[in-house]
């Protein structure tokens, strides 16, 4: 369970929608297009949380999704990073006063990186990944 340089060069991403309006999800798909090509840095979208190193969560967490989010987080193999994309995940955004919210994502699972925006541009998401890599390198150096 140790952090290694190879982890930073091969981040596999699992995308989880916790009740988002789909705006952020479309921006995530835009990030993966040939124009931005994150595969240059080894970033790959995977279909199973077991394969993933990064959990990319969008949306405020609805009551229905809270338990699913916890379970998906628990299914990931360590070391793992959680990245929140979009304003909703940080504060609830336009849904913050809704009766159906289990709260922003950081009240459900620990979050490492926030990417604000409604919806954030692909450049901002890539910047978030770079921040995640920097955090991993810092943790690796500090241990």
């Amino acid at each position: 369970m140790k952090l290694t340089p190879s982890l930073n060069r091969s981040l596999w991403v699992f995308h989880f929608n916790a009740g988002s309006c789909n705006g952020c999800d479309i921006e995530i798909v835009a990030t993966l297009t040939p124009r931005y090509d994150p595969e240059r840095f080894g970033v790959k979208l995977v279909g199973s949380p077991r394969h993933a190193d990064v959990l990319l969560v969008t949306g405020p967490v609805t009551n229905q999704m809270a338990d699913r989010l916890r379970r998906v987080y628990a299914q990931m193999a360590g070391p793992k990073v959680v990245m929140v994309v979009g304003t909703c995940g940080q504060s609830g955004g336009v849904f913050s006063t809704s009766y159906n919210l289990a709260g922003p994502i950081d009240q459900i699972i620990p979050v490492d990186v926030y990417v604000p925006g409604c919806a954030p541009r692909p450049e901002a998401i890539i910047n978030g990944v770079v921040t995640a890599i920097a955090k991993l390198e810092r943790l690796e150096g500090g241990k």
């Binding site: 369970m1 290694t4 190879s6 982890l7 040939p34 279909g47 077991r50 360590g78």
Partner: protein
């Protein structure tokens, strides 16, 4: 004693070489796919980085899984992929186990990694993995028919041409099947070449035949519950199996060596032939795996069976008829 030592040493060297070549092939594959999609793509060393990362990660055994089967199957897959290589000649290098095995044995051994995947999928106790394992079995049944047809018809044609031991790999490397056939046979062999190019992605579960893994609908299929070291060993097995399967095709249908052209002998000839052999493997892999996988979308499992049984099965029968006619005309029968 000496024989055993050299066999063990040869196996270790071959395993390391095959893993290296296999991961390198995966890197070339990803790079070329990226270029075909107008992007840069990952560095060639990306598969090495991925495997290194997977080995450093936590390995989870799900609560529903059967732990000993779940943990054993990646090792079985890797070991059986390496075992295939022990029977294959590389260029003018003789197989490590000599003439102990022939094409039929390799046909069986090539099934074992897929079977290990199937058992591992069933043992992981996830419905996604179960569906994936069932699909893998169905696609195995599908591609086995054209594969067996092409192997057996080539051996039969060699036998008719009075070649001794037509199933042995050493015979195949020495006597190219292209030299014994006439014009009709050439057409038949070209059909077999096409057949082999399409069986390879099926055997390796690549797009358009990656139905068992189907990331979008089965979330990774058979491998859905595998993580960390186990997933790393499976990707090594996949890399070695890629080399083994493509090498098998190259030996059967593209068996030429470079050393007679340059008039080399001894160690120099072996080295030149080995390099040339792997160059052939890389080229075949680009044409039959990489280009196809960029061009096409995934088949449904019913389409996989239809394509392999009816289209490629029909092509196989056409090749059989052509080669039999050829044997008849060339006076072998």
């Amino acid at each position: 004693m000496n024989i055993i030592l050299s066999a063990v040493g040869g196996t270790v060297v071959l395993a390391i070489l095959a893993i290296f070549v296999g991961l390198f092939l995966a890197g070339i594959d990803r790079r070329i796919v990226a270029h075909m999609q107008a992007r840069m793509g990952p560095p060639l060393s990306q598969p090495f980085t991925d495997v290194k990362k997977l080995f450093a990660k936590q390995s989870i055994v799900p609560a529903n899984a059967i732990p000993w089967l779940f943990n054993l199957m990646p090792v079985v897959a890797l070991a059986s992929s390496i075992a295939v290589l022990l029977y294959l000649p590389f260029g003018s290098l003789a197989p490590i186990l000599g003439d102990a095995g022939d094409m039929i044995l390799v046909l069986y051994l090539l099934i074992v990694p897929s079977l290990a995947l199937v058992i591992g999928g069933f043992a992981s106790g996830s419905p996604y993995a179960t569906v994936g394992a069932q699909r893998e079995m169905v696609s195995m049944i599908a591609y086995e028919l054209p594969l067996a047809v092409s192997v057996i018809i080539i051996a039969w044609r060699l036998m008719v041409a009075n070649v001794a031991n037509p199933f042995s790999f050493t015979t195949l490397m020495e006597t190219s099947v292209w030299d014994v056939v006439g014009p009709l046979g050439i057409v038949g062999l070209l059909i077999l070449l096409i057949l082999f190019a399409w069986i390879t992605p099926g055997e390796l579960s690549k797009v358009p035949f990656d139905t068992p893994e189907a990331e979008t609908e089965l979330a990774g299929g058979i491998l859905v519950e595998y993580s960390g070291r186990n997933l790393g060993v499976f990707s090594l097995a996949q890399a070695v199996k890629t080399v083994a399967m493509i090498a098998f095709g190259v030996i059967i249908l593209l068996p030429w060596n470079l050393s007679p052209v340059f008039g080399l002998t001894g160690a120099g000839a072996a080295a030149v032939d080995l390099v040339f052999f792997f160059v052939k493997v890389v080229i075949v892999s680009i044409f039959s795996v990489t280009v196809v996988r960029t061009m096409m979308a995934r088949f449904r499992i019913t389409q996989v069976v239809k394509v392999y049984w009816f289209i490629f099965g029909g092509l196989g029968i056409a090749a059989i008829i052509l080669l039999m006619l050829d044997a008849f005309l060339m006076g072998g029968l």
